[in-house]
C-alpha cells in the first residue's frame, strides 16, 4: 500500500514533465549538426533597420548580413573595395565610384548607381529625420537639404555617369572619404524600398531588401528575432553558414546563460559580472579582440578651477590606470595613454607623455603649485556600470592629491549632457567614444574641434582646428596622418580630457561554431563564422 502510494507520487510529476516536454518540441531549437543550419547570434532590439537611420551596433549587425559595403577594412584597418570596383580621386574632392557588375538586390533588381544616389539623398534630406544624415555633410549641396523646408531634395554633389558609375563632389577635399564609405549609412537601397521618389515605402524596415550575402527570412520579429538566410545569387564571397538567426536579448546575462548551455552561438559582449568566470566557463571559446572605444574623464575647461593644463595633467598623473583596468575591469579593457585608439592608422603609444605615468609625488607637487581645487567632483551616468571605477579613481585622487573627491551619479547620460549644455557645474565627467569609421580624424574632429558635435568641455584651440582642416585637405593619407598627429600633440599639451582606457570586444561562443571574429564595429564577421 505504501509503495503504491509512493509510486503514484513519483509518477505524477513525471507525467506532467513528459507532457510539458512534448508540448515544448515546437519551440525548441533543432540543434542537429547540419552545416547549413543557421547560427544564432545575440543582439539587442535594433532601433531601425534602414541603413541611413541605423547607428547602433545591433541594427548595423543585422544590416551587415543584408548588405555588402562599398569598402571593407583589412587587418591594418585600411579600406579595400568590396561592392565597389574602384574608388578614385585626383584631388580628394571629386571622387569617382565604379561599382562591380553582377550585384543584385534580393528581389532581383540589378544594383545600379541610382540605388546609391537614391539612398544617400534620402539619408541626407533633413525632413526624413535619419539618424546618420550627418555622414553626408561633406558632400556638396548638403546644406540645401537641411532645415524645415529645404531648398533641394537631392545632393548637388552626386552625379550619375552610367549604370555602374557615379561621382561624388565634396565641399572640401577630404582624404578619408574612401574610409568613410565602409559605414552602414552608405549602403544602397532598391527601387522597391521607395513608394514614391524620396519616400520610403511603409514596411520596408520590417523586411529590408539588400544586396548582401544574406536575405531576410520572414519579417523582423520585434523583441524576438531577425532571421536571414543565404542569398545564392550573391556574387561576392559566399558565407560558410546557411543562415543567421539574430536573437534579441534585453539583458546580456540571459544571453550568456544561453551560450553556456549551447542555446545560443555567439554573445558579442560578455557582461562584466561574468568576466571573472568567463575564462573557466568557456575556455578558449572566450575571446578578445580590439575595439574602437575610448573612455575618458573630461574637464569642463570653461570653469576657472580646471582652466590650467597643469591642474589637468596633475590629475591625470595621480590616476593609476593599470591598477584600475586590472582590478576593476579584469583586463577586459586596456589602459590608454593616447587620444586616438590603436585600431586606426596613425596611432602612437603614449602621446600624453609624462602625464600618463603614475607618479603621486610629482602629481601632488604640480597640483599644489598650479593651485588646483580642494574638492573634485566626478560625474557619471548611473545606468552604465561606471560606479566602481569612478569610486576607485576618486579614492586614488584623495590619497595622491590630498583633495576631497566625490562621485556623482546622474540617472542617464542624457541628464549629464543636459547639465553640461547649460554649463552647470558637474566637475569632471566621464565620456566614451566609439568611432564611426577608422580614421584619426574621427577621434579628433567631433571631440575637440571648436564646433565639434561632442565637444562638451568647451575646448577651443585655433591651432588645433587649423591642423585638422589641413589634415582633411592633405593630398595623401600619410600626409594627413602627420597633420593629425601634430594636432594630437597639441591635445597632449592642453589635456582637455584624460584618456583612461581603450575598449576590447570580450566575446564568447558555443561549442557549435568556430572561427568567430568580432570586428572594430562590434559586429560578428558573418563571412568567416562556421559550424563546428
Amino acid at each position: 500500500m505504501r509503495v503504491r502510494r509512493l509510486a503514484a507520487w513519483t509518477a505524477l510529476p513525471l507525467a506532467v514533465t513528459l507532457g510539458l516536454a512534448a508540448c515544448g518540441t515546437g519551440g525548441g531549437s533543432g540543434g542537429a549538426s547540419d552545416p547549413d543550419a543557421a547560427v544564432r547570434i545575440e543582439i539587442a532590439e535594433p532601433q531601425h533597420l534602414v541603413p541611413t537611420n541605423t547607428n547602433e551596433t545591433s541594427g548595423s549587425q543585422v544590416l551587415s548580413a543584408l548588405f555588402s559595403p562599398l569598402v571593407d577594412y583589412d587587418e591594418a584597418n585600411k579600406p579595400h573595395e568590396v561592392a565597389a570596383d574602384s574608388i578614385t580621386s585626383s584631388d580628394n574632392k571629386a571622387w569617382t565610384i565604379k561599382l562591380k557588375p553582377g550585384y543584385t538586390f534580393h528581389n532581383g533588381e540589378k544594383v545600379t548607381a541610382d540605388n546609391y544616389l537614391d539612398a544617400w539623398n534620402y539619408g541626407a534630406y533633413a525632413p526624413n529625420g535619419q539618424n546618420s544624415s550627418y555622414f553626408f555633410e561633406k558632400i556638396a549641396g548638403y546644406d540645401d537639404l537641411q532645415g524645415e523646408k529645404p531648398k533641394a531634395k537631392t545632393l548637388s554633389g552626386l552625379k550619375k555617369v552610367d549604370d555602374l558609375t557615379f561621382t561624388v563632389t565634396l565641399t572640401e577635399p577630404y582624404v578619408d572619404f574612401k574610409t568613410m564609405l565602409g559605414y552602414t549609412a552608405f549602403y544602397p537601397l532598391p527601387e522597391a524600398a521607395f513608394s514614391a521618389p524620396g519616400v520610403l515605402a511603409e514596411g520596408y524596415e520590417q523586411a529590408p531588401i539588400g544586396q548582401g550575402p544574406f536575405k531576410m527570412k520572414g519579417n523582423w520579429q520585434h523583441d524576438a528575432k531577425v532571421e536571414v538566410e543565404k542569398y545564392d545569387a550573391f556574387p561576392g564571397q559566399q558565407p560558410k553558414v546557411g543562415g543567421v538567426e539574430f536573437r534579441i536579448y534585453q539583458q546580456p546575462t540571459a544571453a550568456y546563460a544561453d551560450v553556456l548551455s549551447d542555446n545560443l552561438d555567439v554573445i558579442k559582449t560578455i557582461p562584466t559580472e561574468n568576466l571573472s568566470t568567463a575564462a573557466t566557463d568557456l575556455g578558449d571559446r572566450f575571446q578578445q579582440s580590439p575595439a574602437s572605444s575610448l573612455q575618458v574623464l573630461a574637464f569642463p575647461t570653461f570653469q576657472k578651477e580646471f582652466s590650467k593644463p597643469e591642474v589637468r595633467k596633475a590629475i591625470s598623473m595621480a590616476i593609476d590606470r593599470d591598477e584600475i583596468t586590472k582590478s576593476i575591469f579584469k583586463d577586459s579593457q586596456q589602459p590608454a595613454r593616447s587620444f586616438v585608439s590603436p585600431v586606426v592608422a596613425g596611432y602612437r603609444e603614449n602621446t600624453i607623455g609624462a602625464a600618463g605615468s603614475f607618479d603621486p609625488a610629482k602629481a601632488k607637487a604640480m597640483y599644489e603649485a598650479a593651485g588646483g581645487p580642494k574638492k573634485i567632483e566626478l560625474s557619471y551616468n548611473g545606468d552604465g556600470g561606471h560606479k566602481d571605477w569612478i569610486d576607485a579613481t576618486c579614492n586614488q585622487l584623495k590619497a595622491n592629491l590630498g583633495v576631497e573627491c566625490v562621485g556623482t551619479a546622474e540617472p542617464k547620460f542624457a541628464d549629464l549632457l543636459t547639465k553640461l549644455k547649460q554649463k552647470q557645474s558637474v566637475g569632471l565627467f566621464r565620456m566614451g567614444w566609439v568611432m564611426d569609421y577608422p580614421s584619426m580624424e574621427n577621434y579628433l574632429g567631433p571631440l575637440y574641434s571648436t564646433n565639434g558635435s561632442s565637444n562638451y568641455y568647451g575646448y577651443s584651440n585655433p591651432e588645433f582646428d587649423k591642423l585638422l582642416a589641413e589634415g582633411a585637405r592633405a593630398a595623401t593619407q600619410d600626409e594627413a596622418v602627420k597633420k593629425y598627429q601634430a594636432a594630437e600633440d597639441l591635445l597632449a599639451q592642453d589635456m582637455p580630457v584624460i584618456p583612461l582606457r581603450f575598449g576590447q570586444n570580450n566575446f564568447g561562443h558555443s561549442t557549435k561554431v568556430k572561427n568567430v571574429h568580432v570586428d572594430l564595429f562590434d559586429r560578428v564577421d558573418l563571412l568567416k563564422i562556421e559550424r563546428a
Binding site: 516536454a21 529625420g129 544571453a255 544561453d258 548551455s261
Partner: protein, 312 residues
C-alpha cells in the same frame, strides 16, 4: 449582484482615465531629454532632434504643453490608437505582442501558487507543529528572504546551465516547458505568502465553534476540512491572490529580463529607461485595468465563498 458589477465597471472607466492622467503627468514631469536617452551616448544631430521634436510634440512644455499633449494622447486613445513609441513602432502592436506571453507566465505562476501553496498550507495547518509544518515554515522563510533578483539568476544557473533540466531562457514564443522555470520563480514569492496565509487561516478555523459542532454531529473529518474549514479559510487567501495576479503581471520585470521573455515587464523597463512616455502610459493603463478586474473577481468570489456577504 448585477448592479454591483455594473457599478464597479463604471467606476473602472473613471479610474482608467484618472490613471492615464496621473501616469502621463508623472512621465511628463520626469522627462529629461528622451531624444538623447534614445541615442545613449552618441551625439544627436540637430536635424534628427528637430524631426523627433516635431513628430512627438516634445517642444510643448509647461502646463499648457502638458494638456495639449495629454489631450492629444487621449484623443488617440479614444480612436483606439495608443500612439507610437520613440522608435516609431505602434504601441498597440508592442502590447499585442507582449501581453500573451506575460499572461501565460502569470497563469503558470498562479497555478504553481495555488497548487503548491494552498495545498501545502492546508496540510501544514492540519498537522500544525508537525515535521511538515516546520519544514515548510523554514522553506518559505528562506524564499521570502531571497529577492527575485537573486533567486531568478540562481535558478537559471543551477536548473538551466549547471544541470540543464530547463532551457535557461524562454524567448519570444516559448513552449510551456520553457516557461515553467520562470513561472516557478515568479510564483515562489506569492507561493510562500499564500502558504503561510492558508496555514494560519486553516489552523485557526479548525478551532472554531462550527468545527466542534460539526465534529459532535459526527461528520467525517474529510468533509469538515474539505468543505467547511477550507471554504472559510480561503477568503483571505483569495483576497491575496487577486491582488497578486496584478502583481505577477506587472512585477515580472526582473524575471522577464533574466529569462529573456519579451513581455509587459520587459517593455515597461525599456519604456522607463528610454523615457518613452506613451509606451509607459499605455502599459500602466492596461495594468490598472487588470488590477481593477481582478479585484472585482475577488469581490464576487467573496460572495460565493461566504453566503453572509451580499452586495446591493
Amino acid at each position: 449582484m448585477l448592479r454591483f458589477i455594473l457599478r464597479r465597471l463604471l467606476q473602472m472607466v473613471l479610474a482608467f482615465f484618472g490613471t492615464t492622467l496621473i501616469v502621463y503627468a508623472l512621465m511628463f514631469a520626469g522627462q529629461g531629454d528622451p531624444i538623447q536617452a534614445l541615442a545613449g551616448e552618441r551625439p544627436v544631430t540637430a536635424a534628427q532632434r528637430a524631426y523627433l521634436t516635431e513628430k512627438y510634440h516634445l517642444d510643448a512644455t509647461g502646463v499648457g504643453g502638458f494638456f495639449y499633449r495629454y489631450l492629444n494622447y487621449l484623443g488617440g486613445l479614444l480612436r483606439g490608437d495608443l500612439g507610437q513609441s520613440l522608435t516609431g513602432r505602434q504601441i498597440g502592436d508592442i502590447l499585442a505582442a507582449a501581453w500573451p506571453v506575460t499572461v501565460k507566465l502569470a497563469v503558470i505562476a498562479m497555478a504553481v501558487t495555488i497548487l503548491v501553496g494552498v495545498t501545502a498550507g492546508v496540510i501544514a495547518g492540519i498537522r500544525r507543529a508537525g515535521v511538515f509544518d516546520h519544514a515548510t515554515l523554514v522553506l518559505t522563510l528562506l524564499v521570502l528572504g531571497i529577492p527575485t533578483i537573486v533567486l531568478a539568476p540562481l535558478a537559471q544557473y543551477f536548473l538551466g546551465v549547471r544541470w540543464p533540466i530547463f532551457p535557461p531562457t524562454a524567448g519570444a514564443q516559448p513552449s510551456l516547458w520553457a516557461l515553467l522555470l520562470p513561472g516557478i520563480v515568479l510564483g515562489s514569492l506569492s507561493l510562500a505568502t499564500a502558504l503561510r496565509l492558508t496555514r494560519t487561516s486553516v489552523s485557526e478555523n479548525l478551532r472554531a465553534d462550527y468545527v466542534r459542532t460539526a465534529r459532535s454531529k459526527g461528520l467525517v473529518r474529510r468533509r469538515i476540512v474539505g468543505v467547511h474549514v477550507l471554504r472559510n479559510s480561503l477568503i483571505p487567501v483569495v483576497t491575496f491572490l487577486g491582488v497578486e495576479l496584478g502583481n505577477l503581471m506587472s512585477g515580472a520585470i526582473i524575471t522577464e529580463g533574466v529569462f529573456n521573455i519579451p513581455g509587459v515587464g520587459f517593455n515597461l523597463f525599456r519604456g522607463i529607461r528610454t523615457e518613452d512616455g506613451p509606451l509607459v502610459v499605455g502599459i500602466v493603463s492596461v495594468l490598472v485595468v487588470v488590477y481593477l478586474l481582478s479585484n472585482l473577481v475577488v469581490d464576487v468570489l467573496y460572495a460565493v465563498l461566504d453566503p453572509r456577504i451580499r452586495y446591493e
